[in-house]
Symmetry: C2
Subunit: 411 residues, 2 copies
């Protein structure tokens, strides 16, 4: 692929190369939340560029506190904005050079949720994760339930508690059934866990009653983020039959603040795993619909260095995003711009690539040693969990930055 270079100083190995240009919502001490694009260690303030006429977008849409209306303009417009920005940031005679005030240091900005999320759906699309969970809690010989290879299992999650990187979470309280007890107790969860996931954001709405095919699906996907699907395993275990996870998940889900456009990930497409048995026709697809995105999770105990506990890859997904979206809408369900859909925990075959503490410490039986001499089976108070992801090929790097959140003690 051809590589562009920018006249802005971009550190080597920056996630935010000129090939990336992810969208986010930022504010500074004395300015309101508005749209920006990350480049190196800076943010391009988009509204002034539209006011100058450089971007062919109504500037008022870029001064809003969410990207929903901008995204709703459609890929023809947002991709043209992307190409224009690449020119403005690479051309030697770019008019942007004369306006350093349009480039804000990321260190001086606060990042917000990039979109208002209408509905949030969580899938369960890693075969290694579903198999690990099935082995632990059901039948090791029949770890996958009968429907798993026939459809991308998913469920509705809580949209209100999706929060951006940097916001601390409070350890949830709730009902749990202690082992061997015959009455549940009310207590702070003792099994707070992360789930390493990626989420995609819907960029185009469909009317209720009409489906989206796998072929059409990418036109409906604006871009992707890192997604930490916080889970309280003890609460979840007691509550989840027969209607699925509820309070074990709804206390918080953390996302990285920059939405990487699907177009920026195009060079990193790879084939997905072979699906056996063959899927029904509405779930078939053509081409390479998985992406080679390297992922890692680190835990940083209070006042300690962080320590990587998992290295995984988005390409391990059994079900891809076009299949997820086709399945989600096959019954006529409508999706709306800003809706978020998460992958489910992304685990690889190797135990160093498992995407949750539940799997890494195998339900508490294999504690993880930390550099400070402590051990972890789940997440402790004041631990910070950090997830990172990037794709790299032929000298081009496109990354997601990070999603970072500290767990505070229960109220």
């Amino acid at each position: 692929m051809s590589t562009l270079s920018s006249w802005i100083n971009i550190p080597e190995n920056s996630d935010f190369s000129i090939h990336n240009l992810p969208y986010g919502i930022f504010s500074t001490t004395d300015t309101a939340p508005r749209a920006g694009v990350a480049i190196g260690e800076h943010i391009v303030d988009l509204a002034p560029l539209a006011e100058k006429g450089w971007l062919k977008v109504d500037a008022s849409l870029l001064r809003q506190a969410t990207l929903n209306d901008f995204i709703s303009l459609g890929k023809a417009v947002t991709n043209e904005a992307r190409t224009t920005l690449q020119k403005l940031l690479s051309d030697g005679d770019s008019p942007l050079k004369a306006h350093p005030e349009y480039l804000i240091a990321q260190a001086d900005a606060t990042m917000h949720l990039p979109v208002a999320v209408g509905d949030y759906t969580d899938f369960y699309s890693s075969i290694e994760h579903a198999t690990n969970v099935g082995k632990m809690f059901r039948d090791p010989a029949n770890a996958l339930l009968p429907n798993w290879r026939h459809l991308p299992v998913g469920y509705h999650g809580r949209a209100s508690s999706i929060i951006p990187s940097g916001v601390d979470i409070v350890r949830p309280k709730g009902q749990v059934m202690p082992k061997g007890a015959d009455q549940p107790v009310y207590k702070a969860s003792g099994r707070v866990d992360f789930e390493l996931e990626m989420g995609f954001i819907i960029g185009k709405s469909n009317p209720l009653g009409q489906s989206i095919s796998t072929q059409e699906a990418e036109d409906y996907i604006f871009g992707m983020v890192l997604f930490n699907d916080w889970s309280a395993r003890d609460i979840q275990k007691w509550e989840y039959v027969p209607l699925g996870p509820f309070l074990g998940k709804s206390f918080a889900s953390s996302i990285s603040p920059w939405i990487v456009p699907l177009e920026a990930l195009d060079p990193f497409r790879v084939k997905g795993p072979k699906q056996e048995p063959a899927v029904l026709p509405y779930l078939t697809y053509e081409g390479e619909r998985n992406y080679n995105i390297q992922l890692e999770v680190a835990i940083q105990p209070k006042d300690q260095e962080e320590q990587v506990v998992s290295r995984s890859n988005f390409q391990y997904m059994y079900w891809n995003m076009t299949q997820q979206l086709a399945h989600h809408t096959v019954n006529g369900c409508n999706v709306r711009v800003g809706d978020m859909m998460a992958s489910g925990t992304i685990s690889g075959k190797d135990e160093n690539s498992y995407g949750s503490m539940l799997e890494i410490a195998w339900a508490g039986s294999k504690p993880v040693s930390m550099n400070d001499g402590s051990t972890r089976v789940f997440i402790n108070d004041y631990d910070t969990v950090i997830m990172r992801g990037h794709a790299a090929k032929d000298g081009v790097r496109v990354g997601f930055g990070e999603v970072r959140s500290m767990v505070l003690p229960a109220n």
Copy 2:
């Protein structure tokens, strides 16, 4: 209780008495959707009343296409508006009498969704319904799962596909596993069913990380609607393990368009059923938190008269709304103005009071005879399902009108 009377002609047995005054969003052929209050066969157009200074509310909030911002003003304001409206509609010398143009005939109006729903949660709080389903699909001797009497089981539903009364639904397609088959098939659902539920609408937001107690809960509940939780039983059965209902529900949920304020239901409070075993302290409550609301479901085959197939009552609920909301937020989950929470299917002990065709026709084994000689085990194409509900006591009636929707053939 004291009964007021209005100078407006209100038909006997109208759901929309002066003791009700439910809020909705309406439009007419040449006017945009805006806030109104139902009275008899009319709608009070609220914005002009605010512009006259009669209602102490910013009129622009009443010209919006959803009630969210009005409801967000809080109960102190919305209850004062309610009292003012009662005076304007009952006083012999009301200034409203001189403005018949502020009263629109319901027959001339189209009703819309009253709120933008952020998140939608469905509970499963009728012990008779949960027992019936458990008997049919699990173990007749242990129909209730171990957690059922300890917490109000709930799950997240799809907000985008909540639609108002009068909007037809399309029979969903999807994956089902035919009996005895070893491969699923893709087809139109053969088991489309209604679920008779009531929903409540959140009127006050709580910050993430803070719980709402049962004592505080009613301050967070703005009002109630009728709720038809459409279900495709065959799709649901195949997909729902282990993460709960998804496409078997997300094709549509229909609501009645008028939100009856909780205050209008105050005279109809009743005690709830005794809860055994005793619930954990955070789920205890004081006072009468159930409501005596008579409910019915009718099916109207194409070009035929409607026929009532169920008569139930909201007071049968095992878990009340204050318990549902306290449980929902016990983990710190935040709720937002406009969020909707539904009761789960409301069945009574008697088989004439079951709230779904699944139970009425006992999974297909007891077909229901219709007046035209046909039978029903589930809902046929071109059937219209109508749900109605009202409370009545001492000559005062407060009702919900109806939620009515026809099932169209699959695309």
